[in-house]
C-alpha cells in the first residue's frame, strides 16, 4: 500500500460523520461490569442502531479549549478557508455529550457522600468543557432492578436531590440496572444520548449561522465559505443529510466566487475538491447518481483551467487525477451498495481519466523537475512547518495565512517551488498510473468493454516499460496482442509490437525478439520500409548468432545492460534452437501446402506442393524445408535441404532455390508412392517446417500446423475469393499467391479395377421361385488377377425384413429354405489369367414381394509397378442390381351345387362341386406341373381325384380351372363349419434360361358350413324331352330323420307341359324309408322349359320351406322339337 500523499483526501473528510459522545467514569480495564457496559455500546453497531461514535475518556479528560468568542468581526481578517484540524476536532475531540457513569443505588447507605462525589465529578467535566455547548448527562449504575416509576418514593426524592446537586435537568439523569437485559437498556440509553447530541449540533448550527450578520463581503469572503461548510458538516453530524447537501452546495458556489490568484489557487481548488467530494458523496447516498455526475462534471469544468503556477503545473494534474479517482471510488462504492452502472457510465471512465491526468503529471514532472544534479534541496526546508502540519487546507507552508495577491517574499517562493519540484521527482509516477489503470481495467471488464480493457492494458504495459519493468510490460502486451491481431487493427498491433520488441531486446529474450521481429517485418506491420529493413537486418544478425543493434529511443542505461546480456547469449553454446508456431502470428513468410488432388489411387504417386512467399524487404535464405505427414514414413520424401540438389523437387528458377525473394511465390514439389496399407486412409499434412539460420549457430524453426496459413490468412483467402481479379488468368509460369488454396489432406484409394462383371437374368423375380442370375467375370488385367473372391447376395443395409425373406444359394437343384443366408461372402474363385472369363449361377429365393438391391462384389489382388516400385494392390469391383419380386399367379376357389349354383353352405351327404381358378400374373409363361387336392377328414371325394391340369403352360393373364365333386359326411349338431383341406400347385417359370426346380405352392381351401336336412328329393328324369312325346319322371322322397314324417305334396301346372300323376297328395313316410312318385310329363313347347313345380311341405317341420327342397330338383329341361325322319342322327349329335 502506498503511503498517503499530499493529494489524498483527509480521512475525516471521507468518513461518514457521526455524533460524538464521550463516556466517562467507566473503568473498562479492571471492572467487569463497566467492561460489559462498554462492550454493549460498541458491539453490533448495525445500521438499525443510532449513528453515534462513542469513546471512553477519563473523568478528568481535558477537552480542547474553546477560544474566547469574538464579539466583533470588524477588524478580523481570516487567514484561510478551513483549518486542518477542524473536522477532526468535531468528529473525535469535542463531544456533543459527555456521559458520567456512577455506581449508586437509591438505597445506598452512604447516599449523601456518594451524591456529593457525583456532583464533584460532574463539576470537573463541566469545567473542562468551559465555553462549549456540550451537554452533560449522568448514568447511575445500579445493582437492583428499579420499581415502576412513581412507586419508589425514595427513588424519586433522591433523583430530584441528585439532579439538584449536579445542576442537571431530570432528562439528563439515567438509571442503568446491570441485570439480564443490559443490551436493551443500553439501546434505550443511546437513543436518549442521540437526542441530546442532535440538540447539541442544532445549537452549533445556530451558533455558526449567527455569525453571518457580522460578516461583510469584502474582507470576509473566506468566512462565507467556511461557515457554510461548517453548517453542512454539523448537519451531517446531526444526520440531516438533505440540509447538509444544501449547505455544501451553497459553500461550493461561494468557493468559486472567491477572488482567484496564483497564491491562493491551490487553497481554493483544495476546498472546492473537498466540498465537491461531500456533495457527490451525499448525492450517491440519496440515490441520485445523476446529480452526483452532473455536480462532478460542473466541478471539473470549473477547475480544469485553474492551473495555477506554471512551474507547479504537475500539482494541478495531480489534483485533477485525484478528483477523478475519488469520484471513481465514490461511484464504485455506490455500486457496491446497490447502484447499477452501465457500459457508457461506469467508474472505469473516471479511473481512466485519473490515469490520464497521472500520465500528464508524470510528463510535466519530467519537464519541470529535471534539475541539474548540482541543484541541492533548499535548506532550511521550506516545506517544514513549526506545527508539523499546515494550519489551513491547501496553503503553502512557507507563507501560511498569507492571503494577498503577491507572495510576501519572492526568494522564499522560489525555494518553496524548488522544494516541491524536487519532492515531485521522487514520486513513483508509474506506480500511480498503473494502479489507476488497473482499477479502470477491472471496471471495464465488468461492463463489457473488452476493447477498452485491452487499450488500458496496453497503456499499463507501456507504463511498465517506462518504469523499466520489462517483464511485466511484455506479459501485458503479449496478452492483448492477439486481440488486436484477430480484429486486424494492424496500426495498433504494430505499435504494440514495437514496444514488445524493445522489451524483448532489453531483456535479451531471443525467442520473443525473433517472434516480434518476424511479425514487424511481415505484411501486417504498418512500419515504413526503412524501419522494416532495419529490423530485418537485426533479425538476420540474431539468426547468425550475432548481437542485434539496439532499438531506437530506449533508455541508454538499459541498452548498455542489454548489450552485455546479448553478448553473453552469443557466447553461450547450446540452447539455440527455437520453434515458433506461425498460426498465432502474421509472420513475414507465408506458407501454403496442398495435395494436388483430394484423392490418389494407390498406383499413382501422391503429389504435394508447398508454396512459400516472403513479405520482408530483403530476400531471405533458409536452410531446410520439411513437411510432416500423418504417416511419418512419408516425411523423408518431403524435405528440401542444402545438400539435396534434386531437380524434380525444386522448380527451375534463376534464383537460388533456398532463397525467398520478397513478393515472389516460390513452389516446391514433392512426390511419393503411398503404401498399400494406407489404402482407404487419409494422409494429412500435420505441419510444414521452415528452418532459418544454421544448426551449428542459431536456428529457428517456423512451424505451420496443417497445410500452412497464419493468423491473417483466412480473411485474406475470403477477400481473394471475392476479388474480381481471380477471374483473370495468370500467366502459366507465374503463381498468384491468392489463387493457391490449401489442401491439407488426401485419401489413398484403391487402384481402379480392370475387370468386368456382367449379369444376366430375367426380371422380375417371382415370389417363392428359385430366381437364377448368371454372373460373368472377365479379367482385363495385363497380369494374373489372384485370389479372386466373390461376395454376392442381398446388399447389406436394407430393411431387416428383407434379410429374413431372401435366401441365396449357388445350388440350383433344390429349393432352398430358411437356413440359407441372404448374402454369400468371399466365395473363392481362384486366379484369373489375363482375358479369362468365368461364369457363376446364383439362385435367389424371395419369400415376399417387393424390390431388393443385390450386390456383386469381386475382389482380387495383383502386382504392379509405380515409379519403379513393385506394389501389390487389392482391387475390387462392385455391381448392384435392383430386382422386383412379384406374385406368379392368383388362386380362387368356390363351392357350387351340381347345378353350378354358388353355395353359401353345403348339405350332409349331398354332393357339391369345388371349383379352382389359377390366374397367371407373371410376365413370363408359367409351367404348371401338376396340382393336388389334400382333403380334410370332413370332406370326401365322390370319385377319383385326378389333376386336370398336368403339364399345362399358362401365359400372362391366362387362367387354369379345375372342378372336383365332393360331399360331406354327416356332422354332429345338424350344422357346423368344417375345414376343406389344401390345394397344392406344383409349378415353375417356363424358361430356357436355366433349369430350376419345381415349386409347390399350397393354397388352403376355405372353410364351409355343413347342414343336415330332414327330407331329400331325388329326381330321375331323362336329360331331355321331345315335344309331344311322353316324358316319364320319378321323384323319390327320402325321410332322413328318425321320425315318421307327414308330407304334403303338390305339383303346380306349367304352360309348357301337360302331365299325369297325383296333383296333390298327403302321405306318411317311415324313418329312413323312401316314397316313390311317378309322373308323366308331356312337353308342349320346344326349348328350355320350366318343369311343373313340385312343392313338398313337411307338416312336422313348418319352418322347412318348400324352396329348400326345390333346390335339389331340376327346374328346367331342354325340350327338342318334334323330330322328322332323321331324328336318330340328331339324337346322336
Amino acid at each position: 500500500m502506498m503511503s498517503p500523499t499530499q493529494w489524498d483526501l483527509p480521512p475525516e473528510l471521507c468518513c461518514r460523520p457521526m455524533a460524538f459522545v464521550a463516556l466517562t467514569g467507566l473503568d473498562v480495564v479492571y471492572n467487569a461490569v463497566h467492561r460489559a457496559i462498554w462492550d454493549a455500546f460498541c458491539a453490533n453497531r448495525r445500521a438499525d442502531r443510532v449513528p453515534i461514535s462513542f469513546k471512553v475518556l477519563p473523568g478528568d479528560h481535558e477537552y480542547p479549549k474553546c477560544r474566547t468568542k469574538r464579539t466583533s468581526y470588524e477588524w478580523y481578517i481570516p487567514k484561510g478557508i478551513l483549518k486542518t484540524g477542524w473536522m477532526n476536532k468535531h468528529l473525535n475531540l469535542v463531544p456533543a455529550l459527555v456521559v458520567l457513569f456512577y455506581e449508586l443505588d437509591w438505597d445506598d447507605a452512604q447516599w449523601k457522600e456518594k451524591q456529593s462525589e457525583c456532583a464533584t465529578k460532574v463539576e470537573i467535566v463541566r469545567t473542562s468543557l468551559q465555553g462549549r455547548n456540550t451537554k452533560v448527562a449522568v448514568v447511575l449504575i445500579q445493582k437492583k432492578t428499579p420499581l415502576p416509576p412513581g412507586e419508589d418514593v425514595v427513588a424519586s426524592e433522591r433523583a430530584a436531590a441528585l439532579c439538584n446537586a449536579c445542576d442537571l435537568s431530570g432528562k439528563s439523569l439515567f438509571v442503568l440496572p446491570h441485570t439480564d437485559h443490559l443490551v436493551g437498556y443500553i439501546i434505550r440509553l443511546e437513543n436518549a444520548f442521540y437526542e441530546h447530541a442532535q440538540t447539541y449540533y442544532y445549537t452549533e448550527i445556530r451558533r455558526v449561522k449567527s455569525h453571518k450578520e457580522f460578516l461583510n463581503k469584502t474582507t470576509h469572503q473566506l468566512l462565507f465559505v467556511r461557515h457554510q461548510f461548517k453548517i453542512g458538516f454539523f448537519s451531517e453530524l446531526k444526520q440531516d443529510t438533505q440540509n447538509a447537501l444544501k449547505y455544501y452546495r451553497t459553500a461550493y458556489g461561494l468557493v468559486h466566487e472567491l477572488r482567484v490568484h496564483e497564491t491562493n489557487m491551490l487553497e481554493i481548488k483544495t476546498m472546492a475538491g473537498f466540498i465537491n467530494y461531500k456533495i457527490c458523496r451525499l448525492c450517491f447516498q440519496h440515490n441520485t447518481p445523476l446529480d452526483a455526475i452532473a455536480q462532478f462534471r460542473k466541478h471539473i469544468d470549473l477547475c480544469k483551467k485553474k492551473i495555477g503556477s506554471a512551474e507547479l503545473a504537475f500539482e494541478h494534474t495531480a489534483w485533477m487525477s485525484k478528483q477523478f479517482q475519488s469520484f471513481g471510488d465514490l461511484f464504485d462504492e455506490a455500486i457496491k451498495l446497490g447502484l447499477t452502472a452501465i457500459q457508457t457510465q461506469n467508474p472505469g471512465f473516471y479511473y481512466q481519466q485519473a490515469a490520464y491526468y497521472a500520465q500528464e503529471r508524470k510528463q510535466q514532472a519530467g519537464q519541470l523537475c529535471s534539475h541539474e544534479p548540482s541543484v541541492a534541496y533548499p535548506a532550511p526546508d521550506p516545506l517544514e512547518t513549526t506545527a508539523g502540519a499546515l494550519d489551513f487546507y491547501g496553503q503553502r507552508s512557507w507563507r501560511q495565512g498569507h492571503q494577498s495577491i503577491d507572495p510576501p517574499d519572492a526568494e522564499k517562493e522560489k525555494l518553496g517551488i524548488l522544494a516541491l519540484q524536487m519532492k515531485e521527482k521522487d514520486i513513483p509516477h508509474s506506480e500511480l498510473i498503473i494502479a489507476l489503470l488497473s482499477n479502470a481495467v477491472a471496471q471495464f471488464k465488468k461492463y463489457k468493454c473488452p476493447r477498452m480493457k485491452s487499450h488500458l492494458m496496453v497503456q499499463m504495459g507501456e507504463e511498465y516499460y517506462h518504469a523499466k519493468d520489462y517483464t511485466k510490460a511484455l506479459k501485458l502486451l503479449d496478452y492483448v496482442m492477439c486481440d488486436y491481431r484477430t480484429e486486424r487493427w494492424w496500426t495498433l498491433l504494430t505499435s504494440i509490437l514495437c514496444t514488445a520488441l524493445k522489451c524483448s531486446y532489453l531483456m535479451g529474450l531471443i525467442k520473443d525478439y525473433i517472434t516480434y521481429a518476424m511479425e514487424l517485418v511481415g505484411r501486417a506491420s504498418t512500419l515504413r520500409t526503412e524501419q522494416k529493413s532495419r529490423i530485418e537486418k537485426n533479425l538476420i544478425k540474431v539468426l547468425m548468432n550475432e548481437v542485434p543493434e539496439p532499438e531506437p529511443d530506449c533508455d541508454p542505461a538499459s541498452v548498455k545492460a542489454a548489450q552485455a546480456l546479448w553478448n553473453d547469449r552469443v557466447s553461450l553454446a547450446g540452447n539455440n534452437d527455437f520453434t515458433v508456431d506461425m498460426q498465432e502470428y502474421v509472420p513475414f513468410v507465408q506458407c501454403k501446402a496442398k495435395f494436388l488432388s483430394p484423392s490418389f489411387h494407390v498406383d499413382d504417386p501422391v503429389q504435394l506442393h508447398v508454396y512459400l512467399k516472403a513479405d520482408c524487404p530483403h530476400s531471405l535464405r533458409f536452410s531446410k524445408l520439411c513437411v510432416s505427414l500423418s504417416n511419418q514414413e512419408y516425411n523423408q520424401y518431403c524435405l528440401v535441404e542444402e545438400p539435396c540438389k534434386s531437380k524434380d523437387i525444386l522448380e527451375p528458377s534463376t534464383q537460388e532455390n533456398m532463397c525467398l525473394v520478397p513478393g515472389k511465390t516460390r513452389k516446391y514439389c514433392f512426390k511419393f508412392v503411398a503404401k498399400t496399407e494406407d489404402v482407404g486412409k487419409k494422409i494429412e499434412i500435420t505441419g510444414v517446417h521452415l528452418m532459418l539460420g544454421s544448426e551449428s549457430g542459431r536456428c529457428v524453426y517456423l512451424n505451420w500446423r496443417g497445410g500452412g496459413g497464419d493468423a491473417g490468412s483466412s480473411q485474406e483467402a475470403v477477400q481473394a475469393s471475392r476479388s474480381f481479379k481471380r477471374r483473370g488468368r495468370a500467366p502459366e509460369q507465374h503463381v498468384d499467391w491468392d489463387m493457391v488454396t490449401i489442401q491439407a489432406s488426401t485419401m489413398v484409394i484403391s487402384r481402379v479395377p480392370r475387370i468386368s462383371v456382367q449379369l444376366r437374368h430375367e426380371p422380375p423375380a417371382l415370389n417363392n421361385e428359385m430366381y437364377c442370375m448368371a454372373l460373368t467375370i472377365q479379367s482385363q488385367e495385363d497380369t494374373v488377377a489372384r485370389d479372386v473372391k466373390l461376395t454376392a447376395g442381398l446388399k447389406p443395409g436394407q430393411d431387416a425384413n428383407l434379410t429374413q425373406t431372401t435366401h441365396v444359394t449357388l445350388n440350383g437343384s433344390e429349393v432352398c429354405d430358411d437356413s440359407h443366408p441372404a448374402l454369400l461372402t468371399d466365395l473363392p474363385i481362384g486366379d484369373l489369367q489375363p482375358g479369362e472369363k468365368i461364369e457363376k449361377l446364383l439362385y435367389v429365393r424371395s419369400v415376399s414381394t417387393g424390390s431388393r438391391i443385390f450386390l456383386f462384389h469381386v475382389a482380387y489382388t495383383m502386382s504392379t509397378t509405380v515409379e519403379g516400385k513393385e506394389i501389390t494392390c487389392k482391387c475390387h469391383k462392385d455391381e448392384t442390381v435392383t430386382i422386383e419380386t412379384v406374385i406368379p399367379f392368383e388362386v380362387t376357389t368356390r363351392f357350387v351345387s351340381k347345378k353350378f349354383e354358388n353355395l353359401d353352405r353345403v348339405f350332409v351327404d349331398i354332393p357339391f362341386l369345388l371349383m379352382t381358378d389359377i390366374l397367371s400374373a407373371s410376365p413370363w409363361p408359367l409351367h404348371l406341373d401338376t396340382s393336388r387336392l389334400d382333403l380334410a377328414p370332413t370332406m370326401a371325394a365322390i370319385d377319383q381325384l385326378q389333376s386336370q391340369l398336368e403339364e399345362e403352360v399358362l401365359q400372362t393373364g391366362e387362367c387354369a380351372s379345375e372342378c372336383f365333386c365332393l360331399k360331406c359326411p354327416p356332422v354332429a349338431n345338424g350344422s357346423s363349419t368344417v375345414a376343406s383341406g389344401q390345394y397344392i400347385i406344383s409349378w415353375k417359370r417356363k424358361s430356357t434360361f436355366a433349369a430350376t426346380p419345381m415349386i409347390n405352392t399350397v393354397v388352403t381351401l376355405p372353410h364351409v358350413i355343413v347342414e343336415t336336412i330332414p327330407l331329400y328329393v331325388h329326381a330321375d328324369l331323362p336329360s331331355f324331352g321331345r315335344v309331344r312325346e311322353s316324358l316319364p319322371v320319378r321323384y323319390r322322397i327320402e325321410n332322413r330323420t328318425a321320425l315318421v314324417q307327414d308330407v304334403e305334396m303338390s305339383v303346380e301346372p306349367s304352360d309348357a307341359f301337360m302331365f299325369s300323376g297325383l296333383k296333390q297328395v298327403r302321405m306318411r313316410i317311415l324313418p329312413g324309408a323312401e316314397q316313390e312318385m311317378l309322373y308323366n310329363f308331356y312337353p308342349l313347347m320346344a326349348g328350355y322349359q320350366s318343369l311343373p313345380l313340385l312343392s313338398v311341405t313337411l307338416l312336422r317341420f313348418p319352418n322347412v320351406p318348400p324352396q329348400l327342397l326345390q333346390r335339389f330338383l331340376p327346374s328346367r329341361i331342354f325340350v327338342k322339337p318334334q323330330g322328322r325322319a332323321g331324328d336318330a342322327s340328331i339324337a346322336a349329335a
Binding site: Q343, T344, F349, C449, H455, E487, W489, L492, Q715, R722
Partner: protein, 139 residues
Amino acid sequence: MAVCIAVIAKENYPLYIRSVPSQNELKFHYTVHTSLDVVEEKISAVGKAMADQRELYLGLLYPTEDYKVYGYVTNSKVKFVIVVDSSNTSLRDNEIRSMFRKLHNSFTDVMCNPFYNPGDPIQSKAFDGMVSGMMVQVS
C-alpha cells in the same frame, strides 16, 4: 467539424481511418477501436426482430474528457465513427446526422465501384475528398 472519421468493416477491422494530422494518429485509432465496444452493445441490444427497423444513427457513443464519439451502423453492419472535439459545442445532433448521411452516400458510391472488392481498405479519391471536407481544417 470532425477530428477523426473512420469506416469499420462488419468484422470490426478498419477500412478507412482519417484523423487530423496535428494530433497523435495512434490515439485516434485507439479511440475508434474502443468505441466499437459501445457500438457492439448497441447493436446487440436491439433484438433480432427489430433489426430491420433499427435506426442507423447510434448517437453519442461515449464522451471522453476531450472528445465526443458518435456512431452509425449501416444495414450491412459497416460502422462509421466520427470523433469531434468536446470543446466544439456548436455541432448539433442534426449536423452529426447529416455528416453520417453524407458519409454513407459516399460509401455507397465506393461500394458501387465494380473494381472495389468489399472488405478491402477504401482508397477512393472521391471518398477521401468528401471526408476531407468534413474534417477540421488545419491551417
